[in-house]
């Protein structure tokens, strides 16, 4: 990033090469929509490039990059009228005991329908992810999807580590609850 700031195109190409997959994946998981994900991913790189002149290596680049990425996708979600609170936090009685009757078709290497199973599973997760409040979704995606630690997630989201812990737990509860409803529906 510092080399790019000094005018090196090659530095930006290297940066793009290293991180574009992560950026696209993150945008996809946050928006759940192909065209929105591509637009958001483009915008993320534009913002990264524009911010080069003011970039200061006070934190890891990836943490900074995900901060830009999250803010960008958040703008997209707001533009599409997502208010971040589409799914209420589970009430105390819901998911009693914390065990959810999730039943998904099991994979079997010898079964030719395995590909279909995985595609269906992916689609269910995509839908369930999209119904999480944005703050929970971002925390869960950054940690489980992108491998950031709780501390790094906290840095990206601008919240405490304890808040990250709670958000990820809530996200898990909601995902399990949602996936179990899929089955019973």
């Amino acid at each position: 990033m510092l080399l790019f700031r000094e005018g090196s195109r090659e530095a930006f190409e290297e940066l793009f090469s290293r991180h574009h997959r992560a950026v696209v994946r993150f945008a996809w998981r946050m928006t759940g929509d192909p065209s929105a994900a591509e637009e958001a991913a483009q915008e993320i790189f534009l913002r990264i490039a524009r911010a080069a002149s003011t970039y200061r290596p006070t934190a890891k680049f990836t943490t900074w990059m995900y901060t830009v990425a999250r803010r960008t996708t958040l703008n997209y979600l707001r533009d599409t009228k997502e208010d971040g609170e589409k799914v209420p936090i589970l009430s105390e009685g819901e998911g009693e005991g914390g065990v959810y009757p999730v039943q998904l078709p099991g994979p079997d290497d010898r079964n030719p329908e395995q590909v279909v199973w995985e595609a269906q599973l992916t689609e269910r997760f995509r839908t369930a992810l999209g119904e999480l409040p944005e703050g929970y979704r971002a925390a869960f995606v950054l940690n489980r999807g992108d491998g950031l630690s709780y501390e790094e997630v906290a840095h990206v989201l601008g919240v405490t580590v304890q808040a990250v812990k709670t958000r990820i737990f809530r996200a898990r509860e909601m995902l399990l609850s949602r996936l179990s409803k899929d089955v019973s529906a």
């Binding site: 996809w28 998981r29 483009q42 914390g98 999730v102 491998g147 812990k165 737990f169």
Partner: protein, 209 residues
Amino acid sequence: MGCRDIRETISAFVDGEASPEETASVRGHLASCERCRVLERQMRAVGAGVRQVRGSVSDGFRDAVFSRLEAEGALPPGKKPFPAVWRWAAVPLAAAAGLGLFLLTSREAARAPVPQGPVAARVEMSAPVASVPGSPVPGPAATPAVPTVSPRGDAAALSTEDREMLALLDILEDPAALDADGDAEGMDLLAPGASTDSPNSPRGGRSGA
């Protein structure tokens, strides 16, 4: 600590983020609570599930990004591989270099046969670069950028590790089926006594640029 109170800590435990005290507490609870053991496995499974949500972007994604940046003046224009003066000299120079290389390798070949292993390895390493579609700057000045942005959401991308993890969502409903399939050993790996460096622990990829 009751089940309701410890569930959030189990979530952190699954992510490898619980403190040593919390880890000991969770392990102790899981050892005596079948219900929370089931929950712990389900928590691991949804973590594997999110990694399956992957999209794709069009083949023109890279070009679109770079075009917009160039239009804004945020990115210096791409350099030509050679200055104009040297461009005409490139062909004879390359021919001379090729001839020299041929003569050199011919002499080496006469002394001893070339081992096959390293040759094959070079081919494998160079193949992806050679086959990059739409590489913007061919030749020696080509950058390491590989604009094949295609993290596909196809099912074939599901790793064995993740597939086994996700299967728990179903298998847990019928433990007998698990034993019948001979997967009990795999389940043992996920037992509460297992260490937190499970397949679902946070991954790498945290390197900076």
